[in-house]
Amino acid sequence: MLYRENGQFKTTYARDQQVFPILQDRIGIALLLLVAFVAVPLLAPEYLFRAILIPFLILALAALGLNILVGYCGQISLGTGAFMAVGAYAAYNFQVRIEGLPLVLALLGGGLCATIVGVLFGIPSLRIKGLYLAVATLAAQFFVDWAFLRVSWFTNDSASGSVSVSGLQVFGMPIETPEQKYLFCLAIVVIFAVLAKNLVRGAIGREWMAIRDMDVAASVIGIQPMYAKLSAFAVSSFIVGVAGALWGFVHLGSWEPAAFSIDRSFQLLFMVIIGGLGSIMGSFFGAAFIVVLPIVLDNAPYWFGIPIDTALAAHLTFMVFGTLIVFFLIVEPHGLARLWSIGKEKLRIWPFPH
């Protein structure tokens, strides 16, 4: 009833090509942004910011980056944790070694370094495909882990191998309180989401998808596999690198390579698969599912005042979480984003389905 596009005529190309062609979607997104930028900072408690919203936003950004590579270009990567690590450590080095470098530049610099490393490890994708490529990108993970553990230059000769940052500020405004950190992450995530959305629906995004669907056919119609694949690696690692820098700088404040271990790579891959391959929205759903759900499950016994053994609670979380993953994958193998779009389709013809 409400969600119907009757009477919304697209009279120009521009209107036909907008990101959200339906008026109700635009209103919905505007409301969502309003809530995220205004209502949440005013209302949310500190715990929600620090433990849920900030990690959610940053990992959603990383999942978004990975989704470009895996979901849009079809190149499976297990090196996401490594690219995050490169972003974080590079940004750290920029900040430590260049006096007075603005935070945003350090973060983007981290992203650029991750891009270089990403493209480098993306080169094998020109020859190997599918699961074999996944194994090749695993090399990135191990190599980067090794480099940051062993080469003390990267950690500014920190004896323990752990690095830390503090006193963050952007344009003279400090990024200290949870609200400031949240808004900073949110702004970056929104900007990158808009950029990514426009990239994937542009010429380059169509090239990626053509390569994903059938690379031989794509090259026959004039798409260069090398350019398409490497550009996907570059864009993806850039976003992932910025997310890694944010994870270190804004969320943890102090980190060691274990923060970007192979577990992180798997976690992000699962986010993309559960959220929905080839969907910007799906990255957010996946991140919400993987980041927020375990915390909710973990806290649930306390909220209901059920005294429960800590170990039992942790094990229950694993069990329920695992069951839910299996459940969602059986119900909708294409991810939560697909469920979302099915819901929207149904809503359009509601209440008179034909």
């Binding site: 830390s164 060691e256 942790a314």
Partner: protein
Amino acid sequence: MKLKFLPVAAALAAAVISTAAFAQAKEQFFPVLVYRTGAYAPNGVPWANGYVDYLKLVNAQGGINGVKITYEECETGYATDKGVECYERLKGKGGGATVFQPLSTGITFALTEKAPGDKIPLITAGYGRSESQDGLVFKWNFPLLGTYWVAADVLVQHVGKREGGLDKLKGKKIALVYHDSPYGKEPIPLLQERAKMHGFELITIPVAHPGIEQKAAWLQIRQSRPDYVFLWGWGVMNSTALKEAIATGYPREKMYGVWWAGAEPDVKDVGDGAKGYNALALQHGAGIAKVHQDILKLVHDKGQGTGPRDEVGQVLYTRGVISAMLAVEGVRRAQERFGRGKIMNGDQVRWGFENLALDQKKLDALGFAGVMRPVSTSCADHMGAAYARIQTWDGTKWNFSSDWYEADSQIIKPMVKSAAEKYAAEKKLTRRTPEDCQS
């Protein structure tokens, strides 16, 4: 307990217990970060049980001058990001967290950045960052009883003594087999310093988390045949290392573990093969002291024990008890200045930790006679004591095999100072003034 000598306080305590409503108003909240699951659970569980049991004991004895202790556990799984989440979850609960004890060097590093903003002290008894001993820079960190630099220093002293003098270490080879994390890397600077002083060769051999795969490390040991092996492991890594040592034929008598590699779970599975293996004991050993009897009587006998009964008195269990005792005594010390029987906030508790004065008499009264030595901290020294002993596994239990060693402050002090200054410069912190120390 001290309360026993103070009838007034005891009466107050009784009043608190009898009136639940009153008791609710006076509660000091202790967050408990634990890992009861995951790769490090075998070692994390006894520690957590000891910690919680001691808090229960204090409550059973009437609380801290009548202030009841409340606590809540949070599972970190030894993961830094999970630890940060737990910290955020618990820091505001129950009227504000009193003190955090992360029991993980990685989480300690992350919380070191957060604690000053929230004004919550961090106790890292026997772990954490070594330079945080410098209380003039690290206002909120308390590596009470010892740091990894202390541990490494004592180990070098011991093997030096075994060789017949530190100068005899010249030309010897010492291998450090370490957990490849901030925890395992902490002792390296000190060992390098000592290696330079005495002319022994230091071979560092990292083992990746969680430490189940050590073939390469022990191949290296087989090739280089070091005179001693220092084991800086945690959890399953320790027993794996011992098994590999047996397979390689490396004598266990020449292996020395840090105090986190010297508990029952580390050697039990290896059984007889671990006989002769040595480890540091940080101010405690296995065995039943008076505090354990109190716990058995007042907590376990009432059916409130957190873990199995026979765990009471084990090494890591006692570590948990000691850690909890230090936390509680910090609050008690703060109450002496800021008001007996009142709830202490973070700033006040920090003052309490900075002015801990646990002499032998107090320790005896608390039931820690024979368990540990006196501790006294100050604004500048957040560590309080630098003593340790060596213990040896005889196949069934740990026995002390050395006298007390004190770490050489001549070596550690300058290192702490320069590392702390580097940290201060990085963070643009200024050293605390004498006035600040009074706060």
